[in-house]
Each structure stands twice: as structure tokens, then as C-alpha cells.
């Protein structure tokens, strides 16, 4: 050791002088976490991690995928059967989308139960809701791309539900389909939305979400006196970073395991004749699909009510939540309406999803 800086240190110093790396690093890692690090805070980081891996696997799939009605199915089959590890990349991408939906629900639930949407974090909550919409849109548009019967009919059902929206419904349905039935135009439009518009929107909104979050600061736990929280307050690095890394690794390994247990297998190529196949959407829309089967929601108006009005009214309620619930109380055990509301919504989603799965037996 001669005390001289190494080449790496010289390069770092050179870049730091021009960009301010040390300041950036300090800003990124030295964020105070009130009450210290917690496992409950890992969901947001996990979401970002899943999105990055979805982008990476998506790019790898695009090297082989052909977004045309004539070749989409064949190119997907080629990825599964011919490309080295293609089955794994595709299956990871498929299960990654489900993981993203699960993680969004977990993250939103944590924020809701912790009361972290309250003043001064209303903007963070609103942007988060928009991101939730984008994640669902990602799932919906990506589902059509393999161009098999499942993809074709799930999209047909989804677009038909959108068609029920008054005034805008017809336009949205025609815009998405690009014709009377799903075809080349639909595939092109869904592909562009999936790989261009949604990722750009998600990157922008995720950046805004993080900026607003850092501006408002983490909410911290809902229990404990100010003195206790102050005593336990820690920086983002290293404890929260470590927890985030462990959680990300667990998520990654879980998605990989699912890809192994149930790799993607395509049904027959898409045709306008469903044949024996009973159309149904992806599992995270199943609860909505099952609601549409109820007699109470029969007819044009009923379908509009269950498919469009109720979900949108619920989303509007979520958006208005920080402005309706102005009480500073964050402890979920002291907010009975919020707790019961959350349990009812989760139980409802679970019951209708399982009902839709049981319902399959009655269709065959």
C-alpha cells in the first residue's frame, strides 16, 4: 500500500466531481426511516424489482416474438419449444405479471392498513392508484399476445365489458379492437400499448411516486410514542436495504419456482370460434367475471353495473379516501370501518375468484 488512490478510486473521483455521486448516494441511502426498518415496508421495492425483471424478460421475448396475427402463435410456440431457455423466460414473464398484481394488492393493503395515505401523503396515494391501473392494463394487454384461444377469448370478454361504459365504451372498444372482431389490428394495438405506452407511463409515474414519497417521507409505524419512534429511527441503509434484498430474492425464487411447476403451455391458435373452450379472463379479473354471471347483474344495465360502474365507483372511492378520512388516527385497530371494509373487500374478491374456479366444473 503506497497511499496512492487506485484507478477505480480515480475514476470515481472524476465522475463524482462532475455528477456529484457522493451527494446522490447520501440522498438515496441516508433517508431516515421513522421507527426503524420493517418487513412491512418491502412491498414497494419488490414491485420495482418485479417491474425491472418484467422489462428484461419482455425485451428478451421481443427478440423472437412476431406481433402479427399470422405469426404471433407460431413465434410463441418457437420461443417455448426451440429457443434455449425460452420456456423459462416466457414462463417467468407470465408468472411475473401475476406476482406484480399480488404485490400491488399487498402494497396497497399495507398503505391502507397503516393509514399511510393520510395527510401529507395524499399525492403519493393518488399516483399509486394510477400505477395500480397501469399494472392491471399491463396484464390485460399482455394476455392477448400469445394469440391462442385463451388469449383471444379473454380479450374478447374484456373488451366487451369495456364496451358497456356509457358514451366512451363504444369508442374504447372500437379503438382497442380496430375492427368488428379481434384481429391483426387488435394485436398490433395491444402490442404497442404493452411494450411502448404502458412501460413509458409506468416509468414516469413510478418516478413521480418515489419523488413524492421522498418529499413527504415515510409514515412509519402507527403505534408507539414520538420518543420511542425517534429512538428507533434508522437510515434506509443498511437494514431496510438488506430486508428489501431478502424480500426481492424470495420473490424472484418464488416466480422461478412457479415457472418450473407450471410452465406456459399454449392452447390452440386463436379462432373466432370458441369451440369447446369456455372463455374467461386472467385469474385476477375472475372475481369480476363471476360477478357478471350473477342474475342480479343480468341484462345490459346489470352488466354495466357489475362490469363498469361498481369497479369504477370503488376506484373513485379509493381516490377520494384521503380527503374523506381526515382523522389523523393511523392505528388500524382504532379505525373499525377501515378494517371491516378491507376484510369485506378481500373476502369478496376471494369468494368470487374461488366461485369462478368452481363454476368451471358446471360449464364442462
Amino acid at each position: 500500500m503506497n497511499g496512492q488512490p487506485s484507478v477505480l478510486e480515480k475514476v470515481f473521483a472524476f465522475v463524482d466531481e462532475r455528477v456529484g455521486l457522493k451527494t446522490l448516494q447520501a440522498k438515496m441511502l441516508n433517508e431516515p426511516v421513522p421507527g426503524g426498518s420493517r418487513w412491512a415496508y418491502v412491498f414497494g421495492s419488490c414491485l420495482l424489482f418485479i417491474f425491472i425483471l418484467q422489462a428484461v424478460t419482455g425485451i428478451l421475448l421481443m427478440f423472437y416474438y412476431v406481433p402479427s396475427a399470422d405469426h404471433a402463435y407460431a413465434s410463441t410456440q418457437y420461443i417455448i419449444h426451440e429457443v434455449d431457455y425460452g420456456w423459462f423466460i416466457l414462463s417467468y414473464h407470465f408468472w411475473g405479471s401475476s406476482a406484480m398484481v399480488v404485490m400491488v394488492f399487498a402494497h396497497m393493503s399495507q398503505v391502507f392498513l397503516w393509514g399511510a395515505y393520510k395527510k401529507p401523503r395524499e399525492m403519493v396515494w393518488l399516483v399509486g392508484l394510477a400505477l395500480f391501473g397501469l399494472v392491471m392494463a399491463f396484464g390485460f394487454t399482455g394476455y392477448l399476445l400469445p394469440w391462442d384461444q385463451r388469449a383471444y377469448w379473454a380479450t374478447t370478454v374484456g373488451v366487451e365489458i369495456m364496451d358497456k361504459t356509457p358514451v366512451l365504451g363504444d369508442f374504447i372498444a372500437r379503438f382497442l379492437k380496430g375492427g368488428p372482431t379481434p384481429g391483426q389490428m387488435t394485436l398490433s394495438r395491444f402490442f404497442v400499448i404493452h411494450v411502448m405506452i404502458l412501460p413509458a407511463a409506468l416509468m414516469g409515474l413510478a418516478g413521480l411516486h418515489l419523488f413524492l414519497f421522498r418529499k413527504a417521507g415515510p409514515a412509519g409505524p402507527f403505534r408507539g410514542s414520538t420518543e420511542e419512534l425517534k429512538a428507533k429511527t434508522d437510515f434506509f441503509f443498511p437494514r431496510q436495504v438488506w430486508k428489501d434484498i431478502v424480500a426481492m430474492a424470495a420473490v424472484f425464487v418464488t416466480i422461478c419456482s412457479l415457472a418450473f411447476i407450471e410452465p406456459v403451455v399454449l392452447l390452440e391458435e386463436a379462432t373466432p370460434d370458441p369451440g369447446d373452450y369456455h372463455p374467461e379472463p386472467e385469474w385476477y379479473f375472475l372475481f369480476l367475471f363471476q360477478m357478471l354471471r350473477l342474475k342480479i347483474f343480468a341484462g345490459e344495465f346489470g352488466q354495466f353495473l357489475a362490469g363498469v360502474a361498481i369497479p369504477n365507483a370503488f376506484l373513485l372511492l379509493l381516490a377520494a379516501l384521503p380527503f374523506i378520512d381526515r382523522s389523523p388516527e393511523r392505528n388500524i385497530f382504532k379505525r373499525p370501518i377501515a378494517l371491516i371494509g378491507w376484510i369485506v373487500v378481500m373476502a369478496g374478491i376471494l369468494i368470487f375468484t374461488v366461485s369462478a374456479i368452481i363454476n368451471r366444473e358446471f360449464l364442462d
Binding site: 431478502v246 419456482s257 363471476q290 369468494i351 368452481i358
Partner: protein
């Protein structure tokens, strides 16, 4: 026993140790499960299951040791007894061996009973006309809520038993003389060792080894899906036989030609009849006029 320990119920004490211990072990167990899957072994079938259970023993002991020591130091302000992880592990295993079969029996009987009752309710004349989707959801809610409540009670029962086991260890522990900050530092160091570069090196080396093993074991082409998760078989389109197809097409064309000829002949005959009718019609009209 300290004041904090005596204030804690057995269920709370059991949960305080079992919950973090479970999540501490999960990430490592999933990694092992993934490696087994990559090797083509299913972790819920033999021999994968035996392998996973065997490897879970040291993981569970370590996780129980870590979470129990944390609870003792941070929440109970007690010095944890020596080998607390091993003691809690074998006692918990004994509890599992006794409790799990009984719990399984109770839960399965409850599910079967609740399903039978729900099924009988729907046999009532009044409810027979209920549409299938409504019936499914109501039936599921009926037996599902009963099953969930019983399952919750069984979990609480297990936590009560495990909490008593932890309580026995608490009874033998001596109070910690050090100030709270020193205790916090003590349990903190359980997780963050003094030699952090060594920890990072070990972790990186383990990570690299696991990644290499994963890619080495992973099949290049799609592995055969497990029989439980097999998708419906793709219908194979009939293969094209050129000679047969040509013969078939020729037959269809010949038949079409015959049909066209028949239609033309019919049309010609029809037009002749029309001409005849027109002529006779004119003659009749003239004779009527005369």
C-alpha cells in the same frame, strides 16, 4: 419471570417467536425448493420432500434461536437460556406430532360436515331454482366461513401450546442486568455480525454458487409439467395428404358442375313454361275481349 413476560399471554408469546421464525426460514427453504425443481424433483413428493424436510431442520433451529433470543432480549428483557433454539425446536416438533394429526382430522371433518350441510340446505324446494353462480358463491361462503373459523381456532390452539413451551423457557431465564440500549445492541448483533466484509463475501459466494447450480440444473427445453398442473392437450390438426385432397376437390368440383348443369336445365325449362303461359294468357284475354 419479568413483568413484561407475565403480561404476555401464551398465544402472544407463541406468535412473537413463531411468526418471525417462520419468515426467517422461508427465503432459504424456497431457494432449496427451487434447486430441487431445477433438478426435476418436486418438493412435495418423495424424494424431494424428504430432502427438503431434512434440510429444514438446521434452518428451523437457527430461525427459532434467532427469533427467540430477540424476543427474550428486546421484549422480555431476559437473558435467553443456552441452546434455546434447539430446545424450542424439539419441543415444537413433539407438539406438531401430537397436534397436527388431530388438527387435520378436525379440519377435514369440519369441511366435509359444513359442505354436507350447505348441500342439504340447497336441496330445499325454495332454493332449487337458484341459478348456479349464486348457488356456488353462497355455498362456498357457508362452508368456507365455518372452515376458516375452525382453522383459526386450531392455529390459536397451536400457538397456545407453543406459547406454553416458550413460557417454560421464559421461566428458567434470568433477568438481564444490562441497560436497554445494550440489550438492543446484543440482539442487533445477532443479525449483523461484527465482521461485515466477511458476511458480504460469504453471501456473494453463496449467491454465485446458487446461480451457477441453478443454470447448470435447469433444462434447456420445457420440462414436462407436473401431472397435477397439466394443461388440456392441444388438439392436433389432421395432416394434409395431397393426393386425397386433390381427389376430394375434384369430386366436389364435379358435383358442383352437375348441380350447376341441373340448375341451368331447370332454369331453361322454367323459362319455356313461362313463355307458354304468356302465350295462352294472351289468347284467353283476346277471346274474353271478343
Amino acid at each position: 419471570m419479568t413483568g413484561q413476560a407475565s403480561n404476555m399471554s401464551s398465544v402472544k408469546l407463541g406468535l412473537a417467536v413463531a411468526w418471525p421464525a417462520f419468515w426467517t426460514g422461508v427465503p432459504i427453504k424456497i431457494v432449496i425448493a427451487l434447486l430441487l425443481l431445477a433438478m426435476g424433483l418436486y418438493p412435495w413428493e418423495m424424494p424431494g420432500l424428504a430432502f427438503l424436510l431434512l434440510l429444514s431442520i438446521p434452518i428451523d433451529i437457527w430461525a427459532l434461536d434467532l427469533s427467540a433470543k430477540t424476543v427474550f432480549l428486546e421484549r422480555l428483557r431476559l437473558q435467553p437460556p443456552a441452546r434455546v433454539g434447539v430446545t424450542l425446536w424439539w419441543q415444537a416438533m413433539l407438539l406438531y406430532a401430537l397436534y397436527l394429526p388431530i388438527a387435520y382430522l378436525i379440519e377435514s371433518q369440519t369441511v366435509a360436515g359444513a359442505k354436507a350441510v350447505a348441500g342439504r340446505v340447497f336441496e330445499l324446494e325454495l332454493l332449487k331454482s337458484l341459478p348456479v353462480p349464486e348457488r356456488i358463491s353462497i355455498e362456498l361462503t357457508m362452508w368456507g366461513s365455518v372452515a376458516a373459523v375452525v382453522l383459526l381456532a386450531l392455529v390459536v390452539g397451536w400457538l397456545l401450546g407453543f406459547g406454553r413451551i416458550v413460557g417454560m423457557q421464559v421461566a428458567t431465564a434470568r433477568p438481564a442486568a444490562e441497560p436497554y440500549q445494550a440489550l438492543v445492541r446484543q440482539w442487533d448483533l445477532l443479525r449483523v455480525p461484527a465482521d461485515q466484509p466477511l458476511l458480504l463475501t460469504v453471501l456473494t459466494a453463496t449467491g454465485v454458487t446458487l446461480v451457477v447450480l441453478f443454470w447448470a440444473f435447469m433444462p434447456v427445453t420445457t420440462p414436462h409439467p407436473h401431472e397435477l398442473y397439466q394443461k388440456p392437450q392441444e388438439r392436433v390438426a389432421p395432416s394434409l395428404k395431397p393426393a386425397e385432397a386433390l381427389q376430394k376437390t375434384e369430386k366436389v368440383i364435379a358435383q358442383a358442375e352437375l348441380a350447376v348443369q341441373a340448375l341451368e336445365a331447370k332454369a331453361r325449362a322454367g323459362s319455356k313454361n313461362k313463355d307458354k303461359n304468356k302465350k295462352t294468357g294472351k289468347r284467353d284475354a283476346r277471346s274474353k275481349a271478343d
